[in-house]
């Protein structure tokens, strides 16, 4: 069936339940692979993806027929998702290095591609907070009117310097073992000198964490601080608590 089969499978899926891409099941069929990038009528552009989760839509042909997102905006959506996932990585109890590396590589590739095209990759999701946290929680603005802030980075205005991929500096925190280098990085002596909580203002964290990260991961107002910032925060809060207990007694 080849390429034709792949595309018609999408459109006719709702009509015939039994149609499965069987021709390509046991052959390496390069015709059917990856055309989602070129074909606008794929799932990327479907309204299912653009709407927030749980939003029902009519089961009609209008879904498939909707004009697809142009490639740059498809790419932008994936880039946003990438960044969001990387930020979310550390909120999880068990960060997976493999996942982070795959996300970082994907992110880097998209950013390289954007740079090659002359479009500088936007400075992380920060400029458009309602969209950044997750397309799941809030329906992102419709792609037809340009999302606030995104298009400003296009050819029109002088683009901000692209930040280094924020994921890079996040790999350092993956090691499980008790390595003393972690302690020296934190400069614990400074913390123990002064237990005043005013020390834990966000502005002071730049001294403790790689500065490259701050630019890319400046938290949106609604977001929890992400990445190593959050890491240090929880650790330091614990130490703060311990110190308070010690001082009180």
């Amino acid at each position: 069936m080849g390429q034709m089969g792949f595309f018609s499978f999408q459109k006719s899926m709702r009509k015939r339940k039994n149609v499965i891409q069987t021709a390509s099941m046991c052959r390496l069929d390069t015709d059917t692979t990856g055309k989602e990038v070129d074909q606008p009528g794929d799932v990327l552009s479907s309204s299912r993806y653009l709407l927030g989760r749980g939003v029902k839509r009519k089961r009609s042909a209008s879904g498939e027929r909707a004009p697809g997102l142009p490639y740059p905006q498809q790419r932008q959506l994936i880039l946003d998702l990438c960044l969001h996932k990387l930020q979310r990585c550390y909120a999880q109890a068990e960060p997976s290095l493999r996942r982070s590396v795959l996300l970082a590589n994907t992110l880097r590739r998209i950013q390289d591609e954007m740079r090659r095209e002359g479009v500088d990759p936007p400075a992380a999701p920060a400029p458009s907070p309602p969209r950044a946290p997750t397309p799941r929680h809030e329906p992102p603005p419709s792609p037809c009117p340009p999302p606030p802030g995104e298009e400003a980075h296009g050819p029109g205005s002088p683009p901000p310097p692209p930040p280094p991929p924020p994921a890079d500096s996040l790999f350092g925190s993956f090691e499980i073992a008790n390595s003393t280098s972690y302690l020296t990085d934190l400069a614990l002596d400074d913390i123990f000198e002064d237990i005043d909580t005013s020390m834990y203002d966000s502005s002071d964290f730049s001294a403790l964490t790689p500065s490259a990260v701050d630019e890319g991961l400046k938290p949106a107002p609604a977001c929890a601080p992400a990445g190593p910032l959050q890491f240090c925060l929880s650790d330091l809060n614990e130490l703060d608590h311990i110190m308070e207990v010690l001082v009180r007694s």
């Binding site: 339940k17 099941m25 052959r27 059917t32 790999f171």
Partner: protein
């Protein structure tokens, strides 16, 4: 296995029905004879099933698997410096070839590998002079006659004891362990390093592969699976997140950072997409029983490689290509990062009937009837459809089968899907 799908009967037995998170099965492995099947779960427990001898009436069918032993292998741990919990989830179990009456297995979580000895006891000594039947010490003055303790038969007891704990060898999450054919050493692999251990020595190990860059910011590739060659004790292979497999020879150097062979398929420029790299990440690698071939699993395909040919696989099977149109959704809900497993059947490919089985769990039925769709290995049977194939839209992405083990001698496979373990026997062709 028989070619005709209709004559193939499915015998599935439900061995666990719990729905708690801790019961989610995380790994399954048959021992070398296939009589024992060990499963590990997220709660750190290992459950071993033993095959009951087949009754004479059903000569074509093998016995059922029943619970043989259960024990807590790993407990949750806590890394105080990082304020991180180390999960007790069992990542891998590997049996050690049997040397005596006891069975030994290695089980590992993210950080620590443990060697467990499973032994049977069906006798106990009775008739002690200084202890009574309950084990309480008798007053020596009450002993009037001496007796010789004798061994008496008791009900079968299965005892599991921890024999070795291989700790502190890894700073990243352990994803694979593999026992060497010399039965003395084994390797353990985490995201960036592979260590070689001796089964009797727990306080040190050799690092044989180190992929950690000096600057972690340059990290682009991690190790996803590793295995020793089944016959050559100096060869091992490991797969990476970039879709390549490296074969290393331990005779060449102490640190095998330079591979002896690199198996990599050049990327097809026509099929590039945003997710190309993610779906090319290999999640499992297995040597064939003969040692001639490698089986690798990435997100959408299963590939067979000939160890003599590095430039590409000799066979590629699209396991669920219908998901290709769903990659974005799968990426969104993180399913695209799932790690699937693969397994060889007992005769590898010699019979020419290497069959890929795909089980799609029908989530609407409470007793989880598994529909299997058979994908033929040769082109003639390709494209064969059964009437009850399911459509992609109705697939529930939360129900996925991540763990599989194939009996070493017979066509019996164990499939773990979340909390449930299914064992399939091929009644049409039980012995291959």
């Amino acid at each position: 296995m028989g070619e005709d799908a209709d004559t193939r009967k499915i015998n599935h037995s439900f061995l666990r029905d719990y729905v708690t998170e801790a019961d989610v099965i995380s790994t399954a492995e048959f021992n070398h004879t296939g009589d024992l099947l060990a499963t590990g779960d997220k709660g750190g427990r290992v459950v071993i099933f033993q095959r009951e001898p087949a009754s004479k009436a059903e000569s074509c069918c093998h016995g059922e698997y029943n619970v043989y032993s259960t024990f807590q292998s790993h407990e949750p741990d806590f890394d105080y410096l990082k304020s991180l919990e180390i999960e007790e989830k069992i990542n891998k179990i590997r049996w050690i070839p049997q040397l005596n009456a006891a069975h030994c297995l290695l089980s590992t979580n993210d950080k620590t590998i443990k060697l467990w000895k499973v032994s049977e006891r069906d006798r106990r000594p009775e008739g002690y002079n200084l202890k009574d039947e309950e084990g309480r010490v008798k007053d020596p003055s009450t002993v009037t006659a001496l007796q010789v303790p004798v061994l008496k038969h008791t009900d079968l007891m299965v005892e599991v004891s921890s024999r070795r704990v291989f700790a502190n060898g890894h700073t990243f999450h352990v994803n694979s362990i593999s026992v060497n054919s010399d039965c003395e050493t084994y390797l353990s692999a985490d995201d960036l390093r592979i260590n070689l251990w001796h089964l009797d020595i727990t306080d040190r190990c050799f690092n044989i592969v180190d992929m950690k860059p000096l600057n972690m910011e340059e990290l682009t590739e991690v190790i996803t699976a590793a295995e020793f060659h089944p016959q050559h004790c100096h060869l091992f292979g490991y797969s990476s997140s970039k879709g390549s497999i490296r074969l290393c020879d331990m005779r060449a150097a102490a640190l095998c950072d330079r591979h002896a062979k690199l198996f990599e398929e050049p990327e097809d420029p026509g099929s590039r997409s945003f997710f190309s790299e993610i779906i090319s990440s290999i999640s499992d690698v297995k040597f064939s029983h003969s040692g001639r071939y490698l089986l690798t699993r990435d997100y959408l395909t299963v590939k067979v490689w000939d160890l003599n040919m590095e430039r590409g696989p000799i066979e590629t099977y699209q396991v669920h290509d219908y998901l290709r149109s769903k990659l974005c959704s799968l990426y969104e809900n993180d399913c695209i990062f799932d790690k699937f497993e693969c397994a060889w059947n007992s005769t590898d490919r010699e019979s020419g009937q290497d069959v890929t089985l795909e089980a799609v769990q029908d989530s609407s039925k409470p007793c989880a009837v598994l529909k299997t769709r058979r994908i033929g290995s040769d082109g003639r049977r390709g494209g064969r459809r059964r009437r009850d194939d399911v459509s992609v839209d109705s697939l529930d992405f939360s129900k996925r089968i991540l763990h599989v083990a194939w009996h070493p001698a017979h066509n019996i496979i164990a499939i773990a899907a979340t909390n449930n373990l299914y064992i399939f026997q091929d009644r049409a062709a039980p012995n291959m």
